[in-house]
Symmetry: C2
Subunit: 211 residues, 2 copies
Amino acid sequence: MPAPSSDLRDGTARDRYCPAMTKDHPSAPTSKEEIVLRLFDLFRHAGYEGVSIGDISQATGLGRSSLYHYFPGGKADMANVVVGFAKVWLDAHVLAPLRREVPLETRIDAMLAAVHRFYRGGAAPCLVASMLLSRGRDPVDADVGGLIRDWIDTLTQSLEREGSSKAEAAERATAAIVGIEGALIVAQAVERLDIFEKALGEARKTLLDRG
Amino acid sequence: MPAPSSDLRDGTARDRYCPAMTKDHPSAPTSKEEIVLRLFDLFRHAGYEGVSIGDISQATGLGRSSLYHYFPGGKADMANVVVGFAKVWLDAHVLAPLRREVPLETRIDAMLAAVHRFYRGGAAPCLVASMLLSRGRDPVDADVGGLIRDWIDTLTQSLEREGSSKAEAAERATAAIVGIEGALIVAQAVERLDIFEKALGEARKTLLDRG
DNA sequence: GTCTATATAGGGATAGAC
DNA sequence: GTCTATCCCTATATAGAC
């Protein structure tokens, strides 16, 4: 498995040079945020149990000692930080636009653009789906399901502001997210990214239809 | 993680008593099909890397030696057999009804009933989604994505017989399966099985709407 | 077929020097 | 902060007796 870059960096993240970069990983490691981004990519692709410290060391270019320096709690710590990062990123880029005081269409399109970026056009799996697999067997205590819950809730509230009843808004919000999550699975299973693109379009229709 | 029964047994599977049943697992093991059913449950819930031989031994009540007797190829062998089982079950219970010469509504309802049973009303994850996680890193050579591909193709053909164009039939078939797969993820993430039930209803509408 | 015992590798994690 | 070396546990898999 290669270690693709997430391209989820914020403008605020000024990369700094890291002298530790040495051997058999694709490119130089950088800031702590960059490290977290690579961890995020690993966990979303392989789940908690599917990622080894060796994988992480290779993907980041950091030795074991460095990793345990940044994450004293070990692998569980890393996973929790990754979930926290996802929560922050989701809130900043996907949910925040939904709370703005702009037309519904503008809000939805902003959300969908962020979603497209977040999942790399359907090429990157959902962290929640990947981390759900080991729930109950792993030492990760972060609330992964809460990411989906927050997303549904915020989207529901955004639709309610347009006059929909709470029940109908919740139904549409849920349906849209169900379609996105399902498209990620199916697109990867049959290796057809157009399925994800199509699903985003369907979600848009679901959310805007006589909004 | 408990070891729930799949309730996917065929009528043809006559359970036979197995003397090896001994210690700390929920109920007596039985035929080889019963063993595969338990493996299926383990892999769908935890993925390939998330299941250990110890887990399997406990869930089946079989010692390591017995497991390697039934599956000489070890864990990879077990996973491949499980994927093969899923393929056979899917074909027999989900796809076969779609090929029958009965009204479309009858075909779709038969498929949905089987799907409901297959996923235990949304409580059981999709094997494909779980096994996709380790693809490329594990020794499983079975084509897990092929399960989804076959499903889409058979459903598409079933819709085409009703006069839909191939393109539209494929779109609807894909959308229905996307909704089902997504509902499994979301339902488990937010722990609301009604989301899965609702998704089956939506799939039905998608597939039958002016079919 | 199943058991006990074991081989071998890889996992996560830590110690202590630098 | 990073390195080297190491500890300890678990994992898969096998051998050989019954």
